[in-house]
Amino acid sequence: MERRTFRAMGTEIDLLVDASGATAALSAAEDEFHRLEAILSRFRQDSELSLLNRAGRLDPGPDLMRVTELALAAREDTGGRFDPTVHDAVVAAGYDRTFESIAAHGPEPEARACGGEVRIDRGVIELDDGVRLDFGGIGKGYAADRAAEVLAIAGPCLVNAGGDIAVRDGAWPIAVQTATGSLTVELTSGALATSGRDRRRWQRGGRELHHLIDPATGTSAGGDLVRATVVASDAVVAEVWAKALFLAGEEAGAAEADLLRLPSVFVSTGGTTRLAGGLR
């Protein structure tokens, strides 16, 4: 088993591969993260995403185009609970720089409307006036999937991008935090992601805010969950539904997970842990 840990996309990346002599594959997977970060980061002024957000129109490369398509499909699938147009709401909430640089306290922010029009026409992405995109979560999931494909050439592997985990072959025991500790799930294919408000949080106007924006309100989401973990076919789908089910709340989220057959773990603000979607 070989392992490599490094930082990218504002989080810690953990690569594991069940093979020997996998240095080249590990390096290629790491390079893939840095390459995608240079394209998808909203904190880099020269990224394709920043160019698109500034110009409102871009003929992008294949990765930005694919992530945009996935994000728009996710917006439709989740009824708008996942929405890439939360950029201005996240920035208004105070997350206007890398998380490590955010001031712990500040004045009360204003909610910002989300849900503007994003059009893809003949290889060009067009944003309505005032619409900007944030691919923070889905970008990590996309990168985890791409890196896992690269790493899988060397052997069974696991890619953990700050909680967005993609595996290829093998059997991988993964700890999921619960209300009282953790439980371990064994994942042999697919991916797993966790969304919650227990990290990436700060104070504004005496109120605790976090990075999970509810597109319906344009500010940090409320609800009765601390976090939701979802297992799905790939890390993008897991990331999208972890956020969507988190916003749905414990009861509605568990019912939806059962309906969609998405194995899930919900941790509530009341200190309970609930398994759903066939996970047992």
Binding site: N160, A175, G190, L192
Partner: protein
């Protein structure tokens, strides 16, 4: 002398009469008072009718095109959803709770 003057007057009067006649003939007074050609009137009416019908047809086509585009979009969405559901079913993740020591941990990303 008188005869010469008389001939001049006669020539002048003849010229005036000639030019007056020319002017009258050139203005074609019978043309204005004549009835319009019924075929031209019918053509004008037909043209107006066709113009009105073309507007109605254009509106109808635009409406049907808009309905078609909405239906096409809905159909595309249905096909995409079915395709995604098929893909998800085909690549359904395999997961179960175990009591093994974990190799890694998922946390809020």
């Amino acid at each position: 002398m008188t005869s010469h003057t008389g001939r001049l007057y006669a020539l002048a009067v003849t010229l005036v009469v000639f030019f007056l006649t020319w002017t009258v003939v050139a203005t074609r007074p019978w043309g204005a008072s004549a009835r319009p050609d019924p075929r031209l009137a019918a053509l004008a009416i037909r043209e107006q009718q066709l113009r009105r019908e073309s507007i109605v047809v254009r509106r109808l086509v635009q409406h049907r095109w808009a309905v078609y585009r909405v239906q096409l979009k809905q159909r595309h969405a249905q096909i995409s959803a079915a395709h995604r559901a098929q893909l998800a079913a085909a690549s359904a993740p395999s997961v179960r709770v175990v009591s093994l020591p974990p190799l890694t941990v998922t946390r809020t990303s």
